[in-house]
Symmetry: C2
Subunit: 310 residues, 2 copies
């Protein structure tokens, strides 16, 4: 029996909405075409889980529900659940089309699964909310932070403790499903006795992807974003692109502030977590180079141990 490796591909926000776009469904599907085509082509070689962000989408839902008092507003975690349906459908139907073109749509099992993620109510990140979301206002309100667009609500981004659907997803991997999961980092919940309570927070989708990888013993975590390689001194004259990086060095660079919190930081952190918890390969690359990066021809590959190539 050939053991097929399990690959998690985490699609960043730019896989859906590019700068300057409004996020229409057509734009999102067009942007998904390249990464999803590559994933379809890889589907005989790997067991694949696709995860994705939801930043602009959940922001849009917040703007819409703030715009009217006519209907009851939903708490943030429900809006995250809504984006899992919205984006999940766009990804899955695009995947379906790409598998059809390869004659694989009827041979492959694939599903989008709702995912909720337990967080720790005592996570210190609840005390220091950092994530601005939703509509921008002209004036400050309690729990708001100033952004370049105006005052925005700020929510916590606690660490994912447990992907609740991990055992189901693991089972689906054993059955060779392609699974779309952990949308938007997952619906954040805390467990109280025998109850799940949604919380006003958003979970980083890369950290959630790494946690899922740890729970189901995935082999490869590939984070697909808008740059082909991780860089040192990003945007400066001495910008250096990295082909390979040990996680020891990555941790140092992270501590030195080489990878900013809102962008490359959590991606590098996610890859470090994944490899430290037993993952085999951790890669960061652009959404157009997924296949090349898996072959070692693109992207930044992370290693646990120091390698000569570093």
């Amino acid at each position: 029996m050939v053991i097929i490796k399990t690959l998690i591909v985490a699609l960043g926000g730019n896989a859906l909405i590019r700068p300057g776009e409004r996020g229409t469904t057509k734009e999102m599907v067009d942007n998904l075409r390249s990464p999803i085509r590559q994933i379809a082509e890889l589907s005989n070689e790997y067991n694949i889980i696709i995860t994705h962000g939801n930043g602009p989408q959940v922001g849009n839902l917040l703007i819409q529900q703030e715009a009217t008092k006519e209907v009851s507003k939903m708490p943030l975690e429900i809006l995250v659940a809504e984006t899992q349906g919205q984006i999940g459908f766009l990804i899955e139907s695009t995947l379906d089309e790409e598998l059809m073109r390869l004659g694989l749509d009827l041979k492959k099992y694939f599903l989008t699964v709702l995912t909720y993620v337990e967080v720790d109510p005592n996570d210190p990140r609840f005390k220091k909310p950092t994530k601005p979301i939703g509509p921008a206002y002209n004036e400050k309100h309690p729990g708001f932070v100033e952004t370049s667009k105006g005052w925005k609500r700020v929510v916590a981004s606690p660490k994912p403790k447990k992907i609740i659907q991990w055992k189901e997803i693991k089972k689906l991997m054993e059955d060779n499903f392609i699974v779309i999961a952990c949308g938007g980092g997952g619906i954040p919940v805390v467990k109280e006795d025998t109850q799940f309570l949604g919380v006003e927070a958003v979970i980083d989708k890369d950290l959630a992807s790494a946690k899922l990888g740890e729970q189901i013993d995935a082999d490869i975590l590939l984070i697909a974003t808008d740059v082909e390689k991780v860089a040192l001194n990003y945007g400066k004259s001495n910008e250096t692109h990295l082909n390979k990086l040990s996680i020891a060095k990555a941790s140092n660079y992270l501590n030195e502030g080489q990878f900013p919190p809102g962008s490359m930081g959590p991606k590098v952190e996610a890859v470090i977590n994944f490899l430290q918890s037993g993952g085999e390969r951790g890669i960061i690359t652009s959404i157009d180079r997924i296949k090349d990066a898996l072959k070692g021809k693109a992207g930044t590959e992370f290693y646990i141990k120091y390698k000569k190539e570093d």
Copy 2:
């Protein structure tokens, strides 16, 4: 090996929002408690698929997105996808809690799966849209219909031709998953060459449930609504509640107009379809009597062949 029967429970809108309620998440979860508790208790006895409606919820999303021009509006099928996430999460997390109380949450596999449903672009129902949805306006617009609340957009409700995820759901049944699927009747799509195109329509969730049952060879379709039994002359002095009903008689009553289009009609039609396509049992009952109805102690049970008890 014991063969476990597959049971589809279709939860009507009132399982989520009761008359006079605004549809807050607390109301929806409170309303779901009784049917979901029964389903959890039945989960060792049957393989279960839970389907559900989304009428008020998709209407609320339409109202919200009509309320602002700030963000790009989504087509109707995307809003249906959003309600699958929203309601799926409420159902699944409630099921999770009820399984926890029974000590079954870690033993059972259960998932909410995104479902899209192919419809026929030549379905005559596209020519006569009948389903009023979304916000009510004071004046008529093209494609609008007058309702008791005002002028509303009216969309078609085509017949479900194929539940696209049927083979995945069938596989999950073989693995004894509890599955939440076909939310809101499914996301309506038409297939053109190798493309899926969403359509401006809503699919009846009971007809979609029956179609899924046909495709995966389910044994039992139980439609859970707000009345305990199907009635003849409903609301009149000679109202008669039916314990059992042959599908031949049911078809006649349907043609006579005993079961109105927007309410009992499609439920009866769905049960007829399901039994004619090989289903073993078809039941309509209230959300509080699911367990009793399966034991033959409540609800209206439909039969293919004429029985003495009729």
